[in-house]
């Protein structure tokens, strides 16, 4: 399901939004790394991590509800880890019918995993919702992602919405021509293979339109002096306050990890 096509960026007059994108990018990654490195079952560390991300959410003025609602996205994948409940050896907590038993160790591992993944997703959402994409491109260049790849990202972002509109038009045209009924459960036209074939034609059509559009874009770029080199202004220097934020936050993460390991 990829219908959430709206730009996730939500402009707000907040400190989090004002923070340099490069600092935010590195801090989001560092936060996710900290979550991953925290030992399973270190509930104290998890609570502190949650406190950190929650306070950033409040600071960002995005609305905690907005972030939490979007963080439910990662939940379906929990199914993959669910067997841990039953397969990790350990003291039995609950006996279920059909010979299954939930072990304490399994529960601990499953819950830790769920918490880690949930906290990480929130960091990703905060980054995407508080940073405009062009600033993220700057951050990518700052962490030495090849300039050419960053240029492709930039162009992709610029045309994403154009092509999403094309895709929506194709779908509207299909709905108009095939008399699709709105009620759920109403019988669909044609067989499965036919429907897939129609969708395939639409995909081919979209691809062709994109291909021809890229030709026109290339011509337009060449006529404006493009010579294959992706040029951009040098990134502005980081302000002292942002350096300080970066250093202090990284220090907090390291301390947190130390505490988590020492307490174990």
């Amino acid at each position: 399901m990829h219908i959430h096509f709206l730009d996730p960026y939500r402009p707000r007059p907040s400190l989090v939004h004002a923070l340099d994108a490069r600092v935010k990018f590195v801090l989001a990654l560092a936060f996710i790394l900290t979550c991953a490195l925290t030992p399973n079952g270190a509930w104290a560390a998890f609570i502190l991590l949650f406190a950190i991300i929650l306070s950033v959410e409040i600071l960002s003025e995005l609305g905690v509800g907005y972030v939490l609602k979007r963080s439910a996205l990662a939940l379906p994948f929990m199914l993959a880890a669910l067997p841990l409940l039953f397969t990790v050896p350990g003291e039995t907590l609950v006996r279920l019918p059909a010979g299954l038993a939930i072990s304490a160790a399994g529960l601990e591992r499953f819950l830790s995993l769920a918490v880690k993944s949930w906290l990480s997703v929130q960091a990703g959402i905060l980054l995407a919702a508080s940073t405009p994409f062009p600033d993220l491109l700057l951050a990518m260049r700052a962490v030495r992602i090849p300039r050419l790849l960053v240029a492709v990202f930039g162009l992709m972002w610029r045309y994403l919405f154009v092509l999403a509109d094309e895709a929506l038009r194709l779908m509207r045209a299909r709905a108009a021509r095939s008399g699709q009924r709105e009620q759920p459960g109403a019988k669909r036209g044609g067989g499965l293979a036919w429907r897939a074939r129609v969708t395939g034609s639409m995909a081919g059509n979209l691809f062709l339109r994109a291909f021809e559009r890229s030709d026109r874009i290339y011509m337009a770029m060449v006529s404006r002096g493009y010579d294959g080199e992706a040029r951009s202004l040098p990134p502005p220097a980081l302000r002292h306050a942002h350096w300080l934020t970066l250093a202090l936050s990284l220090l907090v993460f390291i301390l947190l990890l130390l505490i988590a390991y020492l307490l174990e």
């Binding site: 990654l29 993944s117 990202f153 992709m156 639409m202 995909a203 062709l208 559009r213």
Partner: protein
């Protein structure tokens, strides 16, 4: 298929990051030589098209729907190296902007969908093309087989990585991933064939241009074959002997120290000075909750005051 953060262990993530950095670095060089200055507009727009193409869905049964993933289509039309870069961009933007898949495990997701998906697609498609001698049926059979197998092998890789990370037992994760994606792959195959049929009648030159890059892709062909074979052999082995896999993982330090205290019901997060363990744990929990809400309240309070004080 997009793995979220937290589901892969750090060593697995790092190894796959290194792998994709090497592959992407090489792919950038190859594509730069093939496409020249056209590469930025072409790949940018086509990556956007693959992304948008994933919106196109069709009803399967009972409210579920199939949709395109596009690794095979991109490979067949663009050749392997550009295909890898396009899928890399799609997967990266999905993770960065839409949280489809995590950031720390982005390397793994790019590896599964970009590198494995593209290499296997290319290997299958080229092979069928060779057998068909460039006739029309080769396009469709090759397209379907490439799409189906690329999804299936990538799913096996996801299952194997989850098992290696100690996230999911191999004897469950691998058959489950393989089973579900055997069905999803059929949808992918049908859409890919539909797209190829459309392009074959509308712009035959495009379809044939992608396939003509024979010498450019021998490396990818071999890599695709090796990946497919390795996973085909490793997966049943791993799922029949999940303990063996865990043992290997432990020997290599994959299951790191983080998972050592698996036998403690309650780790040592008890307050000092309180002898009753259960009570201490409950108290620790309450203190933790108070910390969280104290921080949250403080933040909310500070934020409310800020507009007034300027």
């Amino acid at each position: 298929m997009h793995i979220p953060d937290g589901f892969l262990s750090i060593p697995v993530s790092i190894v796959l990051w290194i792998a994709i950095i090497i592959v992407i670095g090489y792919a950038l060089k190859r594509v730069g030589a093939d496409l020249g200055e056209r590469q930025i507009p072409l790949m940018g727009v086509l990556a956007a098209a693959i992304f948008a193409g994933q919106m196109l869905n069709f009803a399967v049964a009972g409210g579920t729907s199939g949709h395109l993933m596009g690794a095979a289509l991109a490979t067949i039309l663009l050749g392997p190296w550009a295909g890898i870069l396009v899928i890399t961009c799609v997967v990266a933007v999905q993770a960065l902007i839409f949280q489809d898949g995590g950031l720390l495990v982005l390397g793994a997701n790019i590896f599964n969908m970009g590198v494995i998906g593209v290499a296997v697609s290319y290997m299958v498609y080229r092979t069928v093309q060779k057998f068909s001698g460039g006739r029309k049926w080769g396009l469709f059979v090759g397209g379907f087989a490439a799409a189906w197998l690329s999804i299936e092998v990538a799913a096996l890789a996801v299952g194997l990585q989850l098992a290696l990370s100690g996230t999911s037992p191999a004897n469950l994760a691998i058959p489950a991933m393989a089973g579900i994606h055997a069905l999803i792959g059929i949808g992918e195959g049908l859409i890919t064939v539909g797209a190829l049929a459309f392009l074959y009648s509308a712009r035959r030159d495009l379809v044939q241009a992608g396939a003509s890059q024979a010498p450019a892709g021998r490396l990818v062909w071999v890599a695709g074959l090796l990946i497919a074979l390795a996973l085909a052999v490793a997966s049943p082995l791993a799922s029949s002997r999940p303990d063996g896999l865990e043992w290997v993982a432990e020997q290599n330090g994959f299951l790191n120290a983080a998972q050592d205290p698996t036998y403690n019901i309650i780790p040592d997060y008890v307050l000092p000075g309180i002898s009753n363990e259960a009570l201490a744990t409950i108290l620790a929990g309450i203190v933790g909750a108070l910390i969280v809400f104290g921080v949250a309240l403080g933040m909310a309070y500070a934020r409310r005051r800020r507009p007034q004080t300027g």
